[in-house]
């Protein structure tokens, strides 16, 4: 989900376009902050995930939870193992309790394995989307004001509210 300026302006009750560059900066920061805090990717990003050893069997399979979560359709995961000529391929995705896992039951795979995860571009959960808009509104409201500290507990409270489905 890319930044929808009109949507944000409506949300934050900003009737003019003069803040648009600042809103863009705040949006990028909030999106990145969400990813760092929760693993939830709003816009499409490519990240690597290091898998030192085979996952333990859960839900009856060698399922590994992805550190980066996005919508399922927009997520691709490629594996590459540690042999001299790496064994590479694409992992099979499994969704359990709203989270994306990959099936690591792959023949002749030698650990450690590097996963290249492309996640995001999601149709966002409406609650998460609202939380993101609100966070951007905080950033925009406090911009350039060094007397306002960033609320570091914001995403902790939001993820507490979400319960599950967030990394």
């Amino acid at each position: 989900m890319a930044l929808d300026l009109a949507k944000f302006r409506s949300w934050a009750r900003i009737p003019h376009t003069e803040d648009d560059p600042a809103i863009g900066i705040a949006w990028s920061a909030a999106v990145r902050e969400l990813e760092e805090r929760t693993g939830w990717c709003v816009e499409s990003v490519t990240r690597t995930q290091w898998v030192p050893a085979a996952p333990v069997t859960i839900y009856g399979g060698l399922y590994l939870r992805l550190e980066r979560q996005g919508d399922v359709a927009g997520t691709t995961v490629a594996y590459s193992d540690s042999t001299t000529v790496p064994l590479t391929g694409t992992c099979v995705k499994v969704v359990i309790n709203g989270l994306i896992y990959v099936d690591m039951d792959i023949d002749n795979l030698t650990y450690p394995v590097t996963l290249t995860v492309t996640a995001g571009n999601a149709a966002l959960n409406p609650l998460l989307e609202m939380a993101l808009l609100q966070r951007v509104a905080h950033h925009v409201a406090s911009r350039g004001d060094d007397t306002v500290a960033l609320d570091s507990t914001y995403w902790d409270r939001i993820t507490g509210m979400m319960g599950k489905g967030i990394g």
């Binding site: 009750r13 009737p15 003019h16 003069e18 803040d19 004001d145």
Partner: protein, 114 residues
């Protein structure tokens, strides 16, 4: 003060209008109003006075309004508010951006009562 008004308090959506003056057939200036923006407002205080007008005693209401900043809203503008079907017009006498952050406008307005 203005910096401390969260946007959640700006609950009234008013139409900001600016004057357009044209000259009519007799050479007189005619004022019409063109809407420039919907801005979110919060009415802070109101004060009503009795004043002496042409036809005797009148009432006049002064309002203090906090609004979302809009660059086109000036001392010449007016705000129109649809209050449950009644159109109310607030003439802006003064407006300023107190913290110079282009975030809020503090407005002193006088309500027009027909």
């Amino acid at each position: 003060m203005a910096g401390h008004v969260p946007s959640g308090m700006l609950r009234l959506s008013m139409t900001a209008q600016n004057p357009v003056r044209t000259v009519d057939d007799y050479g007189q200036a005619e004022t019409s109003w063109i809407s420039v923006a919907q801005i979110a407002c919060h009415i802070e205080t109101a004060r009503t006075n009795e004043v002496i007008g042409d036809l005797g005693v009148n009432t006049r209401s002064d309002w203090r309004i906090i609004a979302a900043f809009h660059p086109s809203v000036t001392n010449n503008s007016r705000l129109v508010y649809q209050d449950n079907g009644t159109e109310r017009v607030f003439h802006i006498r003064a407006c300023w951006d107190r913290d110079q952050k282009r975030r809020r406008l503090e407005i002193e307005a006088t309500e027009e009562t027909a």
